[in-house]
Amino acid sequence: MIPTAFDYARPTSVDEALRLLAQADDAKVLAGGQSLLPVLRMRLNAPDLVVDLGRIDSLRGIRDIGGGGAVAGGGGAIEIGAMTPYHEILASDEIRQELTLLHHAVAEVGDPQIRHRGTLGGSLAHADPAGDCGAVALALEAEMVIAGPSGERVVPAADFFQDLFTTAVGDDELLVAIRFPVHPGWGAGYQKFVRTAQQWPVVAVGACVHLADGKTISEARIGLTNMGPTPLRARAVEEALAGVTPTPEAVGAACAAAADGTSPPSDLNGDADYRRHLATVLARRAVLAAAGHPQ
C-alpha cells in the first residue's frame, strides 16, 4: 500500500528544518522512517508535508563531550546525534564500553535491516512506550537537546516523556541530540521479553548498578519499557536495592516492587497482571546481570 500524497522537503540544516516546520500546517518529521513509514502506508496519518532530516549531517555522529556541560556525574558524557542510525551506535566501541546498557538495548531493536535505517533520535521522539531506548535513556539519566525557533534547550529524560507518543518536543521543534552521562564502574543489564524475535517487547527492563567496594549495591537505576503510556523508572526498586548485596534472593526481594506505580496495558501479548509479574522477574535478572558484570 502506498501512503497518501504529501509534499517533501529535504533540508540540509537544522535551521532550515525548523523554518519548514514553523511554516507547515501539518508536517511529519522523517528520521529513519522505520516507524513512520508503516504508519503512512497504513494511512493512519496523512501529513501535508514530510520533512526528511536525512541530509542534515550535523545530526549524525557520536561525540565525546567531556565532563563539562549540563550533564552531571563527573564521568564525562557522550552525545549522540539524533539521526545516528542504530547500527552505527552498535558498531561503536566507545558506546559498548562507556554506555553498555545502551549498547545492549540497541542490539535488540527491531531487526538488522531496521537497525541499518532506524535512528536513536527518531525512536525517542516517536515515544512508543514499547520502544527499547526510552527506558534506557531514563535509566542512564540522559538529556535531550531540543532545537526550536528560539534556540536550543536541554530537557532531562525524566521530563521528556510526557504521555503516550507525547514528548517535550513541540510541533515546531526538533530533537537534535541525546547526551548520556558516563558512569565509570557501573554495570549494565538489559532484559527484553518477546514472544517472537522481531516483536516489540512485551516488557523490557534496563538496569545499571554501581557496586560499592565491588560487593554491595550503592546505587541502581532501573528503566521499564511497556509498563505504561511512557517509559518509567522503577524508583521503588532502586531505593530497595541500595545497600543490598546482590544475591538472587536479595535482589529478587527488592525487585518485587518493580511494578509499583505502573499501569501496564493488556493486549494479545499479555494482560496487565502478567506484565506486572514479568517486570519483577526481568528486573531481577537485569539487576543480577548488571551486578555480575561491572565494567
Partner: protein, 166 residues
C-alpha cells in the same frame, strides 16, 4: 515530483518520482526490477530486502526519494559475470527455498549478514535473519545454506555493485 538519481545494480538511473513512492515500488514498477517483492505493509517480512549503500534495508520501508544519490543492489544484481553469488549457490545446493517468494530478501539479508560477520554461529545466523519470514522451509535449510556459504570464498567481499560493505 522530486528528481532522484541513483545507481541500481550497477546502472545509473534518474527519474522524477512522487515523494510518496516507496523504494520497492520504484524498483518494481519504474525499473522493472521485479525480483524484489512486497510481502507486507509493516516491515515485518523482509521479502523486499535490498542493499542500500552496502547495507540491507527493507525497501518497502524507505521512500524512493530517500535513496537519492545512493547505490542500490537487488537480488538481480548479485550474480557477477553470470556466476551466482555464493549465497545463491548455497541456497540451491542446500534446498533453502521452496516457493521462492521470500528468497530474494532472504538472500540479500544473508549476504549482508556474512559481510558483517564472515563466520557466524548458528545462533548468530538465526538472529541475523530475524527480520525475514519464510513460510515454506522452516528455516532449517536456510540456516544450513548460510553456514555453508560462510565457508565459501567470495562471500565476505560484497560484490562490486554493492558499493562495499561497511
Amino acid at each position: 515530483m522530486t528528481r532522484i538519481e541513483l545507481t541500481v545494480d550497477g546502472a545509473k538511473v534518474s527519474d522524477d518520482v512522487e515523494p510518496r513512492l516507496l523504494l520497492v515500488q520504484y524498483l518494481r514498477e519504474r525499473l522493472g526490477k521485479t525480483g524484489t517483492v512486497i510481502g507486507c505493509d509493516t516491515a515485518s517480512c523482509g521479502a523486499c530486502t535490498v542493499h542500500l549503500d552496502g547495507h540491507s534495508v527493507k525497501s518497502c520501508n524507505v521512500l524512493a526519494v530517500q535513496a537519492d544519490g545512493a547505490e542500490v543492489t537487488t537480488v538481480e544484481g548479485l550474480a557477477t559475470d553470470g556466476a551466482l553469488h555464493p549465497v545463491q549457490e548455497a541456497f540451491h545446493e542446500y534446498h533453502a527455498l521452496q516457493c521462492g517468494f521470500c528468497t530474494p530478501g532472504m538472500i540479500m539479508q544473508a549476504a549482508d549478514l556474512l559481510a558483517e560477520n564472515p563466520a557466524p554461529t548458528e545462533e548468530q545466523i538465526r538472529q541475523g535473519l530475524e527480520g525475514n519470514l519464510c513460510r515454506c522451509t522452516g528455516y532449517h535449510n536456510i540456516v544450513r545454506a548460510v553456514q555453508h556459504a560462510a565457508g565459501t570464498p567470495g562471500t565476505t567481499a560484497a560484490p562490486a555493485a554493492d558499493g562495499g560493505a561497511a
